[in-house]
Amino acid sequence: MAKKVKLSEMTDMFKDVEILSLEGVTIEGDIELDLSGLGGGFDPMLAAILGQENAVLAQHFARLAGIFGVPVGFGGAPAAGASAAAPAVSPALAAPKFKDLIPSKFDFSNIEEWTTQIQEVPIGNTSADGGSRGKRVVVGGEKALPFFPDAPMPNRNQVTIDVFDMRIGLAKAVKENYDEVMDSPGEWAKKNVEKFNADMITIHLISTDPLVKDTPAKEAAKTVEEVLQAVDVPIAIGGSGNPQKDPLVLAKAAEVAEGERCLLASASLNLDYAAIAEAALKYDHDVLSWTQLDMNAQKELNRKLMKQCNVPRDRIIMDPTTAALGYGLDYAYTNMERIRLAALMGDEELTFPMSSGTTNAWGARESWMVSSPLKEDSDWGPREYRGPIWEIVTGLSLAIAGNDLFMMMHPTSVAVLKHITQTLFGTIEAEPIDLANWIGSGV
């Protein structure tokens, strides 16, 4: 392979990749590329970590991640023969029907009914708060729908990247980023923070499920300690989803993480939520209040947490359930939007920040299947690129509906979601672009 690879050659190589992928042939190991020969803001370290064997993919994803931050080059050069001159007005067409533009002023008013602020909830205690985290994450505090001009959003969206306490089956595009750290939750967590820019870590204690490994709560708690030592970002702690075991597992985990203000995931109506709430209060943590696409159930659980378990308002985050694009995102989207609107209009049982299990997007077959199971469909293209964008679009939709915290997996998805949400939040600068000549530009 040539030392320097031009973009055109990269693109050509990709054609082959597509074909291979469509035939279900694995492409790892088939392509070698000298990474050091590539310029343009490409980070060879990142690419190396993204998966040596699959350097081409890594190259593109790394570019993608790199691009969202530092614009490189300018691709909008006019095509040959295109005219950048102001349009010539043909005088023959000028007609008396129109004389002058009628002046008009655009008026806009804020929504008066949005009277109530969403609760701000901090996650993670620094030494100042009695913990050992290097920083604290704050979610919530909105007074309007996200990114709306009615009131500035006080806190940006946050991304927590998943870590599992055992090796699990993951979509290929996800797995190749984590393969070598999957046996060590500490290393995995480190990689998420150092390489993939995670704001937080979620450690899922799935091996505790009696039908998986039935790891005892005490042993699972050690994994939590390992992660807390490996990274200094705030962490969320998830159970296995087993309603009998989770309260025990989370209580033990809460104990070993005392004073760190972790997010315990999750309390729900079908398990002993009071036990989880109690552990959160006793050991200084937050509670994730999880319901399934049902606003009234969400109100009920929040009410129980507040009234019955005495959880303070600044320790509750809601997970109203995320369904993937194409698999119920319409319900998930509208459920969140309704919850947020009701909260802004004063429903005190819903004025909490929200969290999304965005990784559910990887359950959509469009994310991971080699090709469409339906013969009638147009070509689905290479799945390596479908998965990350599926996760991005699922997360982005919910960001617009009002979600604050995202539990995600693919590094590219994390980079792009952060870039777009922070652009809409208002903290990303970019070179101004002149749109006037878009028709003739070389797009």
Partner: protein, 470 residues
């Protein structure tokens, strides 16, 4: 819509309860007018009888959507945009799904042009009982040459039935395109502060819809729209500019919100459909095409959700188009349509006593996905929809709505007898409900096979596992 209760609409109806509309009473029909599931044209007396003419006109005015509905193109594939009455879909529903137009230029080689147009026309993505499609072709006069542009427009309309947008700021070029496409009701892009008189004249002369364009200047945009409206142009589309990055993108997002909020709140001078241009992602200096495609998809997503009614797009890569068409479907699906199918035993194809028996949840999306995977691959079988309160498989197993008892109960209620109606005494559980296997075998007294994690893999699964080994 200026009224919101059936009683208000009822006042304008004949009030005879004749039933010709298919409703038992005029009041029932009035409810359908208010929720926009019926139109005044569905009431024959109101339309036919002269004495109701005045009432009909008044009622139509009251029922007109806040945002003007604009049609582009002709025939089966006409693209209707706008027509909305609400800012949030759960308040009613959004109407006229965001339309996706893909670009071509008049500087393309003819073969490449035709091939791209065909690709746009033929695109299909199956989704619960229907195909998601792309909507039209935007022809860019990159040459700025009237003759070249006319030739390209001709080629495009010969190659497709899809609606087209003629894109140039040069009135002479637009006129040349219009001459060729005048029977196709194309959308004119665009009138701006420099050319508005000439372009406005073209819109009037050829009776076609037209875009007014003012980048990041809502006063100027409104002024153009108002001037056109007063000159008798009804079908107007707004282009406030789509800046692809940084503060420019934030401004664009804000502009879309402001325009739509003002329109829904009753400012008729700006109550028109809005055009978004995600293809400007390709002008933002992203040199790598995959990254540019991703960013374009991101912009398309933002403006599908927040009030873009029509879009100009560039990337035809499947990883861009697929999420785009799915998200438009997501946001524009009527939230009032039921979440669940009836919980009962369904026949897929023509099953008999040797056919496999499967179950899934009654969540409509899950059910239809499984059903189409089976039907599309010619698998005859029995498919039981278990009542999980309309929750999908994975979530209902986690949440306790899908248990062995629930499945047993569903079999009993369906009247399907595993011992008599089939010979194999076997049930296939969804892969995502694998943990129910043991419990199910006990409760049902049958053999339970664990199916694949995704129903798209059922064909392969059946080949290997059916009929079951005894």
């Amino acid at each position: 819509m200026k009224i919101n209760s059936p009683l208000e609409a009822y006042k304008y109806l004949p009030q005879t309860n004749c039933g010709e509309c298919g409703e038992p009473t005029c009041m029932a029909f009035a409810s359908k007018l208010i929720d926009r599931s019926g139109k005044t044209t569905d009431c024959p007396p109101l339309i036919k009888e002269k004495k109701f003419a005045k009432k009909l006109a008044e009622l139509d005015k009251l029922l007109a959507p806040e945002i003007r509905e604009v049609a582009i193109g002709v025939g089966d594939r006409v693209a209707k945009i706008g027509g909305d009455d609400v800012l949030y879909r759960h308040k009613l529903t959004f109407f006229n799904k965001t339309k996706m137009f893909f670009d071509v230029t008049d500087t393309m080689e003819e073969a490449a042009l035709v091939e791209r147009v065909k690709k746009i026309t033929d695109y299909k993505k199956f989704y619960v009982g229907r195909n998601l499609l792309l909507d039209g072709v935007a022809i860019r006069a990159a040459s700025n040459d009237p003759a070249k542009f006319a030739a390209a427009v001709k080629k495009v309309i010969e190659s497709t039935e899809l609606p087209v947008i003629l894109c140039s700021f040069n009135p002479a070029v637009l006129k040349a395109g219009l001459e060729v496409a005048k029977d196709k009701n194309p959308l004119l892009y665009a009138a701006n502060k420099d050319n508005w008189k000439e372009v406005g004249e073209l819109a009037l002369e050829y009776k076609v819809p037209v875009v007014v364009s003012a980048f990041n200047d809502l006063d100027a945009l409104k002024s153009l729209a108002k001037t056109f409206a007063e000159a008798g142009i009804k079908d107007i589309v707004l282009d406030p500019g789509t800046y692809p990055t940084g503060k420019g993108l934030k401004d664009t997002f804000t502009n879309f919100l402001k325009i739509r909020r003002a329109g829904i709140m009753g400012d008729t001078e700006i109550a028109y459909p809005i055009m978004a241009m995600p293809l400007t992602a390709w002008m933002s200096g992203i040199s790598d095409p995959i990254s540019a495609s991703y960013w374009e998809t991101v912009l398309a997503s933002v403006f599908t959700i927040r009030y873009g009614d029509i879009m100009l797009l560039h990337s035809m890569d499947p990883y861009a188009t697929m999420p785009e068409v799915h998200l438009a479907e997501t946001i524009y699906t009527d939230p009032r349509s039921p979440v669940a199918v009836d919980s009962k035993m369904y026949k897929v194809g023509t099953p008999d006593e040797n056919s496999p028996v499967l179950f899934t949840t009654n969540f409509a999306l899950t059910y239809y996905t499984v059903e189409s995977d089976l039907a599309s691959n010619g698998i005859n079988c029995w498919l039981l929809a278990v009542n999980t309160d309309g929750i999908g498989v994975e979530a209902s197993v986690a949440g306790g709505q899908l248990t062995a008892d629930k499945v047993k109960d569903a079999f009993e209620k369906s009247g399907f007898d595993l011992k008599k109606d089939v010979t194999h005494n076997t049930v296939i559980t969804p892969g995502l409900a694998a943990r129910l296997q043991g419990d199910l075998e006990d409760k049902l007294g049958t053999k339970v096979l664990v199916g694949p994690m995704d129903s798209g893999r059922l064909p392969g699964f059946m080949e290997k596992n059916w009929p079951p080994k005894q």
